[in-house]
Structures are given as C-alpha cells and as structure tokens.
C-alpha cells in the first residue's frame, strides 16, 4: 500500500480570532508546517479614496480618521499637511506643538493596543487587560480633548480646532510620569519570560533587504537594523526641536519588533514632556491671561503673536478651494510611513486622494516570513507586524 502526505488547505479568516479584523489567509499546511500562504485582502474596502472625489475638503476630513482607526491623529495630520502645502497655509507653532503632543500620545495608545493583542495571539491573556487599563487613561484624555475616544477629527487645515481644555496638560504630565512604571510592569511579566522568548526569538526574521524590497517602514524596518525615522530625518512639523533617539534593533525577529515598540513608547513620553515644556504661550489657562494683557500686535511676540494662535487664518468651511496643484505628505505613524497624495484641480472637491499605508506592505511581507515555519508561528509573526486591517483596504 502506498501512502502519501496531502497538503491541507486551511482558510484562516475572514472570521478568525487572531486576524485582527477581516483578513483572509489561505494557508497550505503539511502537518503543522506552512508550505504556502496567501493573504487575501479587501474585505474591509470602503472606497476611502473614491469617496473623497465627491466630497469637499471639509466633508472628507472626518472620514480620514477611519483610514486607521487606531491612529486617527496621524491620518488627520497626513491629510492636513498635504492640503496645507497645496493651499500654502502656514501652521502656527502652537498648533504644531498641539499636533505633536496629540500624535505622540496617540502613538502610545496605538502601541499599547498592539502589545495587548500580540500577547493575546501568543496565548497570554492578562497583558491585554493591563494594556487596555492604561490605554483607557489615554483615551479618556482624548475624550476630554476632542469629544471622541477613537475618531477625533481634531485637526483642521491650518492648525487645530480647539485649544487644550484647562488643566488638561497637567493630567498629561501626570500620566507621562506614571507610564514608564507601567511599562516596567509589562516588561517584568513579558520581556524575560522564557516561553515568550522561545516563541519570539529567531521567529519570523525580516532581513534588511527583504524589508526594503517590500517597502516595510516604521518600527518593523527599524527592528531590522535600518535607522530611519521621518521625525528625525528630514523631520517634519516641529520634531527637530526635541531630543529623542531613533530606536533600532539588529535581528529583525518578533522579539526585536516587540522591544522596539516599547522603546518607542518611552521616546514618545519624552517628546510629549518636552513639548509641554516648550509649548509656545504655555498652558491654555495662562495663555488666556497673557493674551488679554499683552496686545502689542507684534509678529513674533511670545504671547500674542502668530505662534500662539491655533490657526493662522480662518478657512471658509463651505467654500474652501485650494489652488491647482498636488502634494504628498509623509508622516511617521505608529505602523510606519503614512502618506497622503492629494491632487487639487482648483475646485471644492479634491481631484484625487491616494493613501499609502504601512499595514499594506506589512501584510504583503507575511508569506515571505511565515513560509516554512510552524502554524503557531504564523500568529506570532502576524501579530508582531502590527497590521490594522482597515488601513490595508482603505
């Protein structure tokens, strides 16, 4: 009698506990070994790019949040910077600082969610609750700031919509002092855990070459040893005014991708604290007093100049028409480089909006990493890449 091993084709998803949304993976298994894997995307396609063409710029602004719901501020910033550079609107310094503070806090909350779900993919349940406990604090701060917990719609062309609520910065400061201790708490339970190290070390090694070929960006690329960070080089917004390190790791395995995100969260806290310190005009409660008292009207006054405004000039919401032109913005989002390409034909609606999102590349590199490894590793690898599905499909 002849025996043969038949490959088993298994459909992981679109409904599966650990595909983080509706990704479908066609996996060919031989026993537990993955022979072939094919990601099938598009289950969450909402036509974000096409919808822009039938909406005015301001109507499209709230939708931008939904491109990646875990890092709304970054999408908003990406779109706003693109439109601002077409319309040549200068963003006041205070507004830039507010953007930086909110974006960095958003980065922490996004990484926290990733940390919990990654560990959940590996079978450890409790880190999820710990990270959600701490993410909750950030979300309630955002709620106080923008009125929403996930989709903020807080930026507008030329700045931000509102100033910080009174004493909001004090709360942020207090939280930023608490957070490193909490990160240490995660590290105590995770980093040196032998099972965690077994599961992640030398698993899903992403080499420098493969990463660059596939267009991987962000923490995943930095974990492979490429020192690249748009905040540092070329440095958009006001990031060049802060001291922070670009964290890199050498091996590019799941363990490094975990460590690098913890480092990044620590760096983000640093940036937020520095930004609060340097905020032009100081906290909003003080600013109010100073502005009424000053009234000198000079361009570069510390208290009543352009730098302390939220938007340089008010933009007409209904009739906002940027001149003809096109622009691309590059933003270092938690998952990598988010890029927004906007073409304007001088009318009320954008002629074309194109999103380049980091998760898309992160999904595409999955077959390269997972082929030949065990089925259990698939979840570790996929989890460590930090993919958010709405961002893949747009």
């Amino acid at each position: 009698m002849q025996t043969e091993t038949k490959q088993m084709r298994i459909n992981v998803g679109p409904q599966h506990p650990s595909t983080h949304g509706v990704l479908r993976l066609l996996v060919d298994l031989e026993g537990e070994v993955i022979k072939n894997i094919e990601p099938i995307i598009g289950y969450l396609h909402r036509g974000m790019e096409k919808l822009a063409e039938s909406r005015t710029y301001y109507q499209y602004l709230p939708m931008v949040d939904r491109v990646d719901y875990l890092s709304s501020f970054f999408n908003l910033a990406s779109f706003c910077y693109a439109v601002e550079s077409i319309a040549e609107i200068k963003v006041p310094k205070r507004a830039e600082y507010i953007r930086v503070i909110t974006m960095e806090l958003n980065r922490i909350s996004s990484h926290l969610l990733w940390l919990g779900t990654f560990l959940l993919d590996l079978g450890a349940t409790s880190p999820l609750f710990y990270t959600f406990r701490d993410r909750e604090k950030l979300l309630s701060l955002f709620e106080e700031l923008a009125g929403a917990r996930l989709l903020y719609n807080f930026y507008c062309f030329g700045g931000v919509k509102q100033d910080f609520p009174p004493y909001w910065l004090n709360k942020v400061k207090k939280l930023c002092e608490e957070l490193p201790d909490l990160f240490n708490e995660y590290e105590a339970i995770i980093t040196k855990n032998p099972i965690f190290m077994e599961r992640t070390k030398d698993v899903g090694i992403l080499t420098k070459e493969v990463a660059l070929d596939y267009g991987i960006t962000g923490p995943n690329l930095r974990a492979s040893g490429v020192e690249t960070d748009l905040r540092k080089e070329p440095g958009y917004s006001v990031y060049n005014e802060f001291n922070f390190d670009v964290c890199t790791r050498e091996n590019g395995d799941c363990y490094d991708r975990y460590l690098i995100r913890l480092d990044e969260m620590r760096q983000s806290i640093d940036i937020v604290l520095q930004a609060i310190e340097k905020l032009p005009g100081g906290p909003p409660d003080k600013l109010f007093v100073k502005r009424t008292n000053c009234g000198c009207g000079e361009e570069n006054c510390k208290y009543c100049g352009v730098d302390t405004l939220l938007t340089e000039k008010k933009v007409n919401l209904v009739n906002f028409k940027p001149p003809k032109g096109e622009a691309t913005s590059l933003i270092e989002a938690p998952r990598g480089i988010t890029s927004c390409y906007v073409v304007s034909d001088g009318s009320k609606n954008p002629y074309r909006v194109r999103w380049r999102t980091p998760s898309f590349s992160n999904v595409q590199v999955l077959p390269e990493l997972a082929k030949g490894s065990l089925y259990s590793d698939l979840m570790a690898i996929f989890g460590s890449l930090d993919v958010v599905l709405p961002e893949v499909d747009r």
């Binding site: 298994i10 079978g123 609750f129 599961r199």
Partner: protein, 372 residues
C-alpha cells in the same frame, strides 16, 4: 459504610445479594454530585480569580457577587440547540464528549477524599488511574476527526501527540511514588506519608514525611505533565484559541460542549487532588495529630462522632492542599503565553523525561538508605 448497608438489608430480611448489587449506586450518585458541585464552583472561582489578576471585576450580575453566574451558564447550555454540521460523523461526534468525560468521572471514585470516603478501594488504584486518564485522549481525537473541521482535526492531532509525550514522564514520576510507598494502593500511599522523621520535638509532624521531600523533582515533573494532560495554559495547544479558533471542540455546542467543559474542570480538580494525595500527604494533617482530636478528645467520648470529626477535618486538609494547587494553576494561566507544538515536544522528551528518570534514581537511593 458497606457493612452497615448490608446489615440494614439483613435486618429487614432482604436477600443480601440485592445489597451487593445496589451498593455501587451510592458511590456513583455521590461522585456525580461532587463532580457537578466542584465544577460549578471551580468555574466561578477561575473567573473571579482571573478577574482579580487582570484588573477586572469578573461576573457580578447574577446573584450576590455573581455567585449564580455558573448556574445561569449551565441552564443556558442545557437549553441550547444541539447543532450538528451536515458532514459530521454523527455517531462519533456524539460519542466523543462521553468518551472524554467518562474516564474523569471514574477517577473521582478511585481517589481517597478522607480515611473513609473512598468509593472504590482498588488494590492498584494508582495504576488504574493512570490507565484510565489516557482514555480521555481518545475522546479528543474522536471529536477532532468527527467534526469534519480542519481546525478541530489539527486540535485533535495536537492533543494526541501531546498526551502521548507527556504520559511517559507523568507515569515515571508516579513510579517514584510507588517506590517510596511500596504500593500502588492510594490509601496505603497516603498512610505511608504519616509519622514524621524522628520521634521528638516537632519532627514527628506528618509534614516531614510527605513524599514531596524525597520526590521534589517528581512533583515538578508530575505537576507540569498534569498541566499538559488537562490542556491548561501553557500547554493548551489542542484548543489554542488564537490559532485553532477553539481546537477540537470548535463544532460543539449545547450540552455536548458542556460535557467537554465539565470534563475539563473536573479533570483540573481531580488531578490536583491526585497530586496532593501522591506528594502532599493527601488527607493527612501536616501536624502529628488531627486538630479535631486534640481539641475534642477530652470532652467527646463517643468514638463515632470523633471519627466523623476527623473525617471532616481530613477532607478540609485535602481541599486546602487541592485548592492551593488549583490556585497555582490558575495563576499560571494568567501569567504565561502558550508554547509551540515543537517546543512542547522538546520540553517533554529532552527535559521532563531525563528529569523524571533522575527523580526515580534519587527516590530509589532514598528508599535503599531508609528502607520501609
């Protein structure tokens, strides 16, 4: 108890053969009720404990402090529609949960809960228990195969591989106990752990003669292997939620799922009882005498009441040890991630097996130096 029961029949002039036939009903009913009560309590305990460890509140809506949550869940499962997918093997699909559950129930009858509370006193009880536990694995494979679901099948295969490789160190660790006790009879094993080491001061306390001292390695091996046997984290690969959806019981719902669920928690409890029987002196108190004897022997002269008190205390001691172990297992669940299939195998064959052999060696030398 058995003698009393037969005497009762003789008193009423009923043939004693009827007594002999009908006697097993009582242990069976006793075991079944204990099992259900234990599981209902354990599920609640686990949920509350995990909630405590993961900064949540846990069930707190049904009854005082969520105490009746498990009852509500049980009722829900009872009334749920029993769904069977079209291409399942109907007979095997139905048999599988029973095959999985029945062995666990048998073990409840084989373990001594106190000096007198033991349903079946088998001469080689330990051997029987080790044999019966392996039957459960067949239930896992059956359910994985009969479900006609790829996730279930993978779960079933994993379950089989895991059970086979962890059975061996488990048995070897248990052999160490047989060497120490010179018997496979569980009451004998428990009694063999009494007496202390030297007969003075407090060294005559039972705690010093528990098997944990010579067979400490054995306890470690046995504990880890039993985690794998009952599919708990970090060895819950057959039902790895994030990989296999729910593993071998993906397709099950309603009462059949409840049976799997029941068996899992029942196994968790009984394996902890078994560990305390084998290594932690079972129902013995850690001191040289039972506390109830020390307190009550001066003013209660009735031997039967005194005996009853001792039995209750024995159960209490056993439960204390058991629940401590259960707590450790739940604590582990809240702490550790899951192992990978190949790491699981490596861990068993390259680490646990040599360790259990070393344990056997140490135990044999100990018994050689200090014969029974």
């Amino acid at each position: 108890m058995y003698e009393l029961y037969i005497k009762l029949f003789e008193y009423f002039n009923i043939p004693t053969i009827l007594a002999q036939i009908s006697w097993p009903v009582f242990p069976f009913v006793g075991v079944a009720t204990t099992l259900v009560i234990v599981v209902i309590f354990l599920v609640l305990l686990e949920r509350k404990l995990l909630a405590l460890l993961t900064v949540r509140k846990g069930p707190n809506r049904v009854g005082p402090n969520g105490f009746f949550q498990t009852f509500a869940d049980a009722i829900k499962l009872l009334f749920k529609e029993d769904i069977m997918a079209t291409n399942t093997n109907k007979i095997l699909f139905t048999i599988a949960p029973i095959v999985f559950f029945a062995p666990v129930m048998v073990i409840y009858g084989l373990v001594p809960f106190s000096g007198n509370l033991l349903a079946i006193n088998a001469a080689a009880g330990l051997f029987l228990i080790l044999g019966i536990t392996s039957i459960s694995t067949i239930g896992i494979i059956l359910s994985g195969w009969a479900s006609n679901n790829k996730y279930s099948l993978l779960g079933g295969i994993r379950g089989a591989a895991q059970a086979i490789s962890y059975e061996i160190p488990l048995v070897l660790a248990a052999v160490g106990i047989c060497v120490l006790a010179g018997s496979m009879n569980l009451p004998t094993i428990v009694q063999g752990q009494s007496g202390g080491i030297v007969n003075n001061l407090f060294f005559n306390w039972n705690i010093f003669s528990w098997n944990i001292w010579p067979a400490a390695l054995g306890l470690v091996v046995f504990f880890i292997c039993s985690l794998a046997e009952i599919n708990r984290i970090p060895f819950d690969l057959p039902e790895a939620e994030s990989e296999l959806v729910s593993g071998y019981n993906t397709e099950y719902s309603g009462m059949k799922f409840a049976l799997f669920f029941l068996a899992e928690y029942a196994a968790l409890f009984i394996i902890c009882v078994l560990i305390s029987v084998l290594f932690l002196g079972g129902y013995l108190s850690p001191f040289n005498d039972y506390l109830s004897l020390l307190i009550f022997k001066n003013f209660i002269n009735n031997q039967i009441i005194l005996n009853l008190l001792v039995n209750i205390e024995q159960i209490a001691w056993l439960m204390l040890k058991t629940y401590f172990l259960i707590f450790v297992i739940m604590w582990i669940r809240a702490t550790l991630p899951r192992l990978r299939a190949d790491q699981l195998m490596n861990f068993s064959w390259k680490f646990l097996l040599p360790l259990s052999l070393l344990n056997l060696f140490i135990v044999a030398i100990y018994r050689f130096l200090f014969p029974l």
